[in-house]
Amino acid sequence: RPAFFEWLCRMGDSTLILGHRTSEWCGHGPALEEDIALANTALDLIGHTQFWLGLAAEVEGKGRSADQLAYLRDAWHFRNLLLVELPKGDMGQTLVREFLFDAWHHLQLDWLAANSSSPRVREIAAKALKEVSYHLERVCDLVIRLGDGTEESHRRLQDALDRLWPYTGEMFTGDAVDATVAGAGIAPDPASLRPAWDALVDEVLEAATLTRPQTRPDAQKGGRQGRHTEHLGFILAEMQFLQRAYPGATW
């Protein structure tokens, strides 16, 4: 049960923080269609967060709500992947990050919707899967078009890929929490998703004329255990301000 809570926080914190980063683009996108798509993606991710953290709060059984989990934990209690907390960077970094994450997210939700021993998890995953299928499709298409676009768009995407690659291994690195949750049939062994992820990533990178980095994919990790980058503290200071400044108020 504590492992299940922990795992749910990992799911919900990752969607929350990626939703936050994505929402930073609102009104600042490179084209109107992109503004709409990014706001829509952020909206979906915040929706997933409500489900995951809502269930986490229930499983914890200490009377906390999804909002309390989102707004009243400090950085070292957050369990998101490091990948999602990195600055949004240019649109190349934003898209490549979403691509690397969605490729995993989609596999994860697909497994959960079909196989999880928890009916609640299956239900949430099934809802989220539809949206994430669309996110993945859209972002693969953009990565291919921009990778195989101009020299500059190619360079920007390759730079983003090189920069983000060391953060991808964390998605597939299990620990005791994962072992417990996988043992209970709730979630897959993280490592088991790697081959399918590799295959999809390779396929898209090839179509995009991008080169798969040769650097270590697992150089950066710790987010899922609460050891973050210096960026998360700033995200939370901003995100949590009102709940912190006006404790107990209803909004």
């Binding site: 709409i36 190619h154 209803t250 909004w251």
Partner: protein, 311 residues
Amino acid sequence: SPQELAFQARIDRGEKIEPKEWMPEGYRKTLIRQIGQHAHSEIVGQLPEGNWITRAPTLERKAILLAKVQDEAGHGLYLYSAAETLGVSRDELFEKLHSGAMKYSSIFNYPTLTWADMGAVGWLVDGAAIMNQVPLQRTSYGPYSRAMIRICKEESFHQRQGYSIMMTMAKGTPAQKDMAQDALNRFWYPALMMFGPSDKDSVHSEQSMAWKIKMNTNDELRQKFVNETVPQAEYLGLSVPDETLAWNEEKQGYDFAEPDWSEFFEVIKGNGPCNRERLEARVTAWDEGAWFREGLSAHAEKAAAARMAAE
């Protein structure tokens, strides 16, 4: 000319003018200016609300605000499409926005300073926008009229959400109520300004009314807005920042103070609190997005060439 008379007759009969049909050059130009300005307002209007998305106080409020800002971008899309039917491209309109040749609604040059402003913007700004837009559903130009019908549906939803934020704040802690009152104080007069100067000072009104591009006078709409909004403020337990406000039995409406029109013209001239930042944000987004748009075009050309070669 007989053509113009026939055109006016169609309008008078309540017919819709469609893109391929003949229209006077002045009608086209006025429409482009009006629709373009409205589209720009939707786009720039994302910024003051976007300012609070990352700080929304609950997940639910964050989701609602995201959806709203997304809708605004969508409205921009409808409106630019409507303008395109008049022969002006979206990129041309953007260029005019960025160079300052076209304006957007001055209300978006005011800052959003507290969360209560998300309420005030929804309640007052969207409220005033709806007041302007509802009659435009019956405007003479077909594409514009249809865009307005779609937009109005969503806007009234936004206004209700804004009012719900105000309600929660006004019934909340003393600090929240103060924030709500402060937001009303700051947005009241700028909202009144959204209807434009008094009709007697308004240049284009008469011809636009005849063409059914403008359906009501500025003063009519402003009066209607005040009449509807004052009871809503009372219901919230907030005070409208106008000591002269009083019910006038005879006209069955409120007497109210005019906004400070010199402020209005200062803001139009570029001296509002956020003019520089709003425009800079849009220009920066556009300039920094150039490589993205060019990348997509280049790929589309390559793909088209590949298809040609394959045929």
